[in-house]
């Protein structure tokens, strides 16, 4: 393989043309690799489930029905994730969005992680300080953060399976209060830090939060869970439209 051809000609630390580097072939190859790994894993798991099923009194039909039920119920949430992912394509490029937001991570965590990483370099996500080098730093931080979840899973699952009682004895009240509070605080402080930047930032933030609140209230009132699934994508797209209108004023 001709290595120089793989290197994007546009690699320039100070350029704000993120997509030149974010859509590079190497990043695409890694993203497709993650897709393939999940496919292989699913095939192995399905085979194992089909083999074990008859021995515990489950028919092949029941396994097939479960597969189909899982597939159908994932349609809505998957398309909702797609909508959010498309909105972030110009920030992270396609391969990073596929892996970080579509698969391993989620939009809320990954965007927060990228913002925190950019901040340590004195830059901001998007905008004139968001250079190729800052994008690289943000992707590195997002990936390392995501890796910690996987490493925790790899270490903790066998321990929990053995029924390690020390882990189960962690005070459930702490488990109930602290992580949730930390998560809300992380998003809250990052969000509020956007407000002093300009009045358009305020418009973007408030319109998005406002639309989300309205959607959540409607979802509760009419008891339609699909609204909750789609709320994040709808709120982001509508708020971006409002923000775009605000920049034209």
């Amino acid at each position: 393989m001709n290595i120089p051809a793989l290197l994007p000609a546009a690699a320039d630390s100070n350029s704000t043309d993120i997509l030149a580097i974010a859509n590079s072939p190497v990043l695409w190859a890694c993203a497709i690799g993650v897709f393939l790994v999940i496919i292989v894993q699913s095939v192995i798991y399905m085979k194992a489930a089909k083999t074990a099923a008859p021995h515990i009194g489950m028919t092949q039909d029941e396994i097939k029905t479960s597969f189909r039920a899982g597939a159908i119920s994932a349609l809505g949430p998957s398309l909702a994730v797609v909508m959010v992912a498309v909105a972030l394509l110009t920030i992270f490029g396609t391969p990073a969005v596929l892996v970080r937001i579509g698969l391993i991570g989620s939009v809320s965590y990954e965007t927060a992680a990228a913002a925190i990483a950019a901040k340590t370099a004195g830059a901001e996500l998007g905008g004139p300080t968001y250079t190729q080098a800052v994008f690289g730093l943000a992707l590195a931080a997002m990936s390392l953060g995501g890796a910690m979840w996987m490493i925790a899973t790899l270490i903790l699952t066998p321990l929990l399976k053995r029924g390690d009682s020390a882990l189960r004895k962690v005070n459930p009240a702490i488990m109930l209060v602290v992580p949730g509070a930390a998560m809300i605080a992380a998003f809250m402080v990052l969000g509020i830090a956007e407000l002093p930047k300009s009045w358009i930032h305020v418009v973007a933030f408030l319109s998005s939060a406002g639309i989300m609140t309205i959607l959540m209230l409607i979802a509760k009132r009419v008891n339609k869970p699909w609204i909750k699934e789609w709320a994040l994508g709808i709120a982001i797209i509508l708020a971006l439209a409002i923000t775009y209108a605000a920049t034209r004023l």
Partner: protein, 248 residues
């Protein structure tokens, strides 16, 4: 061979296959997900210092470190060992994989927490993964890339400049609703306002630590000021009282 031994052996084989291959595939996924940034940092010609990557990682750990460990602990009893390796690679656990598993279990009439329930969940997550990978590949990989190439530059620029406040506004509301912890939300809001509008302007260099300070202060205050009537004793916490699942 008795029925019970046969069952035991079949499940043993299932556990062995899924935990071995679950771990192997997850480790490969882990390596691939790190290969992309490793390429950017070391080989792309971009000027990114390893020290600055470590600094960014440390900032992230201060904010999300607790959640890295707590989330696998939270999901294990719901997912079971074999699905853990699927769930933490496919992602979107609370909004996609858990509902898929529950609907499958309800469809064929088995209970979560049983071995049949576990097999149904594994099959359901495979089904969800199939749909998810396909829709991501087609709508984001192919169509999305094309879409971005035809969107006018000034719209792309608006998205790039204002995506962060837009995402966070909606995510904050979603986090508050899904966590069902109004007290923590009010504490988080108060602490964040004080940090951003009082501490950051007053203390030089505070900007770098603002997120971590707000997160740690909120976590401590939320614990100290918790509703002791419902969250007082360890034994009283019912499993129903758990939030819908972390926002991850």
């Amino acid at each position: 061979m008795s029925k019970a031994t046969e069952m035991h052996e079949a499940l043993g084989a299932f556990d062995k296959t899924t935990s071995r291959w679950g771990r192997i595939t997850m480790i490969i996924g882990l390596i691939l997900s790190l290969a992309a940034p490793a390429y950017l940092v070391f080989f792309s010609g971009l000027d990114i210092e390893v020290a600055s990557v470590l600094a960014a990682f440390a900032a992230l750990a201060a904010v999300f470190g607790v959640i890295w460990i707590v989330e696998p602990l939270t999901y294990f009893p719901i997912l079971g060992a074999s699905s853990m390796y699927q769930a933490f690679m496919i992602g979107n656990i609370s909004n996609k994989l858990l509902p898929a598993a529950m609907i499958a279990q309800a469809t064929i009439g088995v209970k979560p927490g049983t071995r049949k329930g576990e097999l149904a969940a594994v099959a359901a997550i495979c089904g969800a993964a199939a749909v998810h990978l396909t829709s991501l590949f087609v709508f984001v990989g192919l169509l999305g890339t094309w879409l971005v190439s035809v969107i006018p530059t000034d719209i792309v620029q608006t998205v790039q400049f204002y995506i962060l406040p837009t995402v966070l506004g909606a995510v904050i509301v979603q986090a508050i609703v899904s966590q069902k912890a109004p007290r923590s939300a009010i504490i988080a809001l108060t602490v964040s306002l004080i940090v951003i509008f009082v501490l950051v302007p007053l203390i030089p260099g505070m900007n770098l630590f603002a997120t971590a300070v707000a997160v740690i202060a909120t976590a401590v205050l939320a614990w100290v000021l918790r509703d002791r009537k419902t969250l007082g004793a360890t034994e009283n916490v019912e499993s129903d009282a758990l939030p819908e699942g972390p926002v991850y």
